[in-house]
Symmetry: C2
Subunit: 231 residues, 2 copies
């Protein structure tokens, strides 16, 4: 080793040590960043590998396949939902806030709602912690076990479904979005009034952009329903 390495080997060596060694965590995080930036459809194994300066094949040492990668991403995202300190007196508000936070987090990571839909009953550590906390709140409120078990599903389902709806068109270009919008408008304008009287009567309400009120309505509806089973 008395002679220094030739320059091209030095470069290679520096490059190798400069980049963090591959591990499951960086892969998952990189994939998630890519999803946030370009949507879930852009996240291919090749693309993630490229982002890490390597080849697709290298990822398979740390991740069984693409769907496992997505499940790992999912649990990472679920981990971002803040857990409340259960306070039985405020169970309704705490559950509502929980649902709001869930919606916020999944809206912030467009595409992850699709992953939830494909993943029957997420079982990552963070998902379990979320379930445990919700159960604490529901049982603390005096709901029977059976109802609590049903409700925990429902309360996870609802924000996810709304998030799915809101992020469905993330991958569309502005042009496509506009085109779809004007198509829908034309279509509604052309509806025969005698066959769709209610639809037309209610159109202004449906078109008005009160997404947040809509979500809050659903939450309030669920809480009113739950209340009827307390004790």
């Amino acid at each position: 080793m008395s002679v220094p390495d030739p320059p091209w080997q030095q470069r290679a060596a520096r490059k190798r040590s400069a980049k963090r060694p591959l591990d499951t965590d960086v892969i998952v995080r990189t994939a998630l960043e890519l999803t946030d930036r370009e949507g879930l459809d852009a996240v291919s194994m090749r693309r993630v590998a490229q982002e890490l300066g390597t080849g697709a094949a290298s990822l398979y040492a740390y991740v069984r396949n693409k769907s496992e990668l997505q499940e790992l991403m999912l649990d990472l995202v679920i981990g971002e939902v803040p857990l409340p300190e259960p306070d039985p007196a405020r169970w309704e508000e705490q559950l509502k806030q929980f649902a709001r936070d869930q919606l916020r987090v999944f809206t912030a990571h467009p595409g992850m709602a699709q992953v939830v839909a494909r993943t029957p009953a997420p079982t990552g550590p963070n998902a379990l912690q979320v379930t445990e906390t919700m159960l604490t709140l529901l049982r603390g409120a005096g709901l029977p076990d059976r109802i609590a078990a049903f409700a925990v599903d429902l309360l996870a389902l609802y924000p996810n479904a709304i998030a799915l709806e809101r992020t469905a068109d993330f991958a569309l270009t502005d042009g496509e979005r506009d085109e779809r919008m004007s198509q829908v408008e034309d279509y509604f304008a052309a509806l025969p009034a005698e066959r769709f009287p209610n639809l037309l009567a209610i159109l202004p309400v449906m078109m008005s952009d009160e997404g947040e009120e809509r979500f809050e309505f659903g939450l309030e509806l669920i809480m009113r329903g739950l209340r009827s089973w307390v004790e």
Copy 2:
């Protein structure tokens, strides 16, 4: 035309007339049958074309692209949901039955629930008719327009979300399903009792296979919530 066509031309002619000429309808129907048999993931343009004895390129004369094909399939499926004759006195039961029928239809066509999730506000003719009927029921029940508009969304969302959950693993082989099942069991069995007391306490209830009761619970919850806004 005094001389009959040579045999090879006859065969060609028979072949051509024997298979129905391509049109949008057969394409959509074939794609749907394929989905029912093998799941949505198996429905590629090539595969549908193969089923019709032609090449993938031929389909593009009748269908703009794959996602348009899926939207057409979706409206066909929505058309299978039976429409009730609105009877204001029985609005709750009619809405419930509506939701049940929707779940049934989407469970019978595994994969179509995924398409709903990707399609913001389906606008096919059948979807519109469904919306109109639901609005008739909701407004007839005495719900304010604003609430009715929200509720119609919610009542479509819920059966779809459940159908999505139920058909999520359609593409899995039995082996994969079993593997997942036993994985989940092991995982739960290994949970530390002090960190997940509620989860473990409720596990028997969650594991018991009462999918239908679960759906009915959600329906009843929604109806109780709606009732609180009547008049």
